[in-house]
Amino acid sequence: MIRQLVKLCWNRKRAQALVVIEVFFSFLVLFAVMTVAVYNLDNYRRPLGFDYHDVLNVNITSLAELTTSPGGTAASPAEESRRLAREVRSLDAVEGVAGMAVPAFDLTGMSDSVEYEGRRVDSFNNEVSDDFAQVMRIEVTQGRWFEPADDALAYDPVLINERLKRELFGGEDPLGKNIAPKPDEHSMRHGGDKAPRELRVVGVFTDFREDGELSGPEPYFFRRTRIGGTDAKPYYNLVVRVRPGTPAAFEEALMNRLRAVSPGRTFQVDPLVKMRRSMMRLKLVPILAAALIAGFMLLMVALGMVGVLWQSVARRRREIGLRRAVGATGRGVSLQILGELLVVATAGLLLGAALAVQFPLLGVVGWVGNGVYAVAISLAALTIYGLTVVSALYPSWLATQVQPAEALHYE
């Protein structure tokens, strides 16, 4: 049966070539859309690693300006940010306050290399205060979180997320290991005598996906904001956990308190829920726009295929009539029409798949996993077949309506 269908199509290969090309391009479009969709859905179902409800982010913008200028003294903004945190903590509706360097749900991020036994990994990271795990509800799965006594340590304690643990250590126990990158010759020559401090892993946490649910799985680690001594760093952002049910008007009260403590500074107060929503929108809008365009494109292709089939049925009335006259059932005829289209679609599909498979093979887009590609290719193929069957429905029904007599007296 299939061999016959293939032969039939092969005999009309010039007429079918255009349909093959069309299916080929449709498959590529679908493959792209499905890859993006599967990748994002896959990310969406992963845990975020923290709780953003009832948390306000306070950005102290001008603090950054002050510390990057050569003239400023590093100690005073650090002390000022600590005082701001204490003042906010004393407000009634506040359950907890912590400091962090880079806010969540924000396009900025810090990335650095870490290294263990020759394995080098680029990892996002953040600098956070001792209260951070409690305020953001970070889950520590191994080891411990930061504590005030860490100021006295000779090394910088860090906590790594599960993914960084896997990438850097495999099955090994990470606790107590140093992950500071070894300075290469180049920076030794220019960087002078200041060797980087040791970064020693003191704990492991599940995750902290600061860019929200649609971000990919990334290695991440936390460093600790030093409180005392000459190396003390300021909090550039405060995260404020308020009691559930705190009215929105609290924002203004918070802002007034902040301005009363530091009149010269600019503060930006945003609920994390709101920041998450704008981040989500920022990532979703282009995806949805592309999906909408792809959807219309596929509708167009489906309609085009209906047109082509319709015409081919109309032209082959005699042939179909002859088949009916020698005993073929209506079902057999409509299956033939459908089967022919499926054979042609498969040809286009194989061409498309051959190209699509190059993406995982050559690793064109590194951060998309092979599993995502596999699912995307299968989904795209399924959609193409679904589309083919739907477009063949009406024309193949039309074919069953051909009367044998009509075909025979045509000649």
Binding site: E22, G72, H190, V306, G307, W310, Q311
Partner: protein, 414 residues
């Protein structure tokens, strides 16, 4: 003759409603996507108020610090621009301003988000803002640290409910400013001029920006002639090369360039080792390439449908040939049919594109964005569709018209 063709064309299109619908759908849809994409690019990068002198205006966006420490790409600080851009010879005007920053103000308990930009007095001469009332603040205002502000129409409405605002006081980030001018809203997508409120640089509370090499400043220059731009860009690069790093343990070289916003995008996208090179041509090539690839599928579809449409009418062609129609007459007829079809599809696409653009403008996705139809791109798209429509419709018709009438009557090519 032509009138007859038109009449026949319309009749044929109406009789074969399904094919007509598929063709129209494909043509209109392709044109809508192309025109909306072009309108978007034009809105972000094209010359329009307040950047009307785009041919002579360039901006300094980001710099890259390289050397011993990690490579940092950031906005330049005031001190760097003051030293490297304000001193450029042969430039008509130079303006320094900050990137916009969101500040929150509470008015009667409601939260108002405002984008604030600090600028110098020259900003208003480099840019070509349309003032609804009042005027800009001046270099003198900036020097004397006058607490004056230029606001946009939306901010005026939010604070004063469309009443005249000049002379009144607005509170921005806990500070009071006297309004001196109100300008039309500027789109969020315009990188250089966008803000809700413009304040003099002199009123920045914290003085430390004056010595900073990295920070949140940008600069715009206005050259006397477009031909001077290349020279000015070279001089800016050599000025950057002369700057001594304030902290050689972090970086030793500063790279950057003077760009159009489009050039800046190409600089950021193609992460060349040499950051001081922008490649707008390469980016344009990519965009055109993507547009071409996008057009492939609708084109193949259109060709497919056209071929089917012609094949179906084989016997009609046969009859006309039998009664003495020449090949040219037949091709002419199909030509007219295709042109009519494409023009109807084009008109449909035009209407839909206007609706889509209006929808994007009203969605509030991009504050103050007013995307407008780009006639030139629409015309190109239409010509391209016409070309493929003709190719797909006329070629099979030509082949059919050469057939022997008997074969054509029997159903045409096999």
């Amino acid at each position: 003759m032509l009138r007859n063709y038109l009449k026949v064309a319309l009749k044929v299109l109406l009789r074969r409603r399904f094919y007509t619908f598929i063709s129209l759908f494909g043509i209109a849809f392709t044109l809508v996507v192309l025109t909306v994409a072009a309108a978007f690019l034009d809105h972000v990068f094209g010359a329009q108020p307040p950047e009307t002198r785009a041919d002579r205006t360039r901006s300094v966006f980001m710099i890259r610090l390289t050397g011993a420490g990690p490579r940092i790409t950031t906005f330049p600080g005031y001190a760097l621009l003051d030293r490297c851009v304000r001193t450029l010879p042969g430039v008509e005007r130079v303006s320094l301003f900050t990137i916009q920053e969101k500040v929150v103000t509470y008015k009667d308990g409601a939260r108002i988000e405002i984008y604030r930009k600090y600028s110098d007095g020259a900003f208003w001469q480099v840019m070509d803002f349309r003032f609804l009332e009042g005027g800009p603040f001046t270099a003198k205002d900036d020097e004397e640290r006058s607490r004056v502000a230029v606001i946009n129409a939306t901010t005026r409405r939010r604070f004063f409910g469309d009443q005249p605002a000049v002379g009144k006081t607005v509170e921005i980030d806990g500070e009071a400013f006297r309004v001196v001018g109100v300008v039309e809203d500027v789109s969020y997508l315009r990188l250089v001029p966008f803000a809700d409120v413009w304040l003099p640089i002199g009123t920045i509370r914290n003085e430390s920006y004056r010595t900073a090499m990295e920070g949140n400043f940008m600069a715009a220059i206005l050259a006397p002639r477009a031909a001077d731009l290349a020279r000015i860009a070279d001089e800016y690069r050599s000025a950057l090369a002369r700057i001594e790093s304030p902290d050689p343990t972090r970086f030793t070289r500063i790279l950057g360039g003077i760009d159009t916003p489009f050039g800046m995008l190409s600089r950021m996208l193609f992460r060349h080792e040499r950051f001081d090179e922008s490649r707008p041509g390469e980016l344009l090539g990519w965009i055109l390439g993507i547009a071409l690839v996008f057009m492939l599928l609708p084109t193949v579809n259109l060709v497919n449908v056209s071929v089917s449409r012609i094949l179906e009418r084989a016997s009609e062609i046969g009859v006309r040939k039998t009664f003495g129609a020449s090949s040219w007459t037949l091709v002419g007829q199909f030509l007219v049919e295709n042109v009519v079809l494409t023009l109807i599809g084009g008109a449909l696409g035009l209407v839909l594109a206007v609706l889509v653009l209006g929808g994007i403008n009203d969605s509030g996705l991009f504050p103050y964005a007013r995307l407008a139809l780009n006639g030139r791109v629409f015309l190109y798209g239409l010509l391209l569709t016409l070309f493929f429509g003709l190719l797909s419709g006329v070629y099979p018709a030509w082949k059919m018209s050469r057939l022997h009438p008997v074969d054509a009557l029997k159903g045409g090519l096999r």
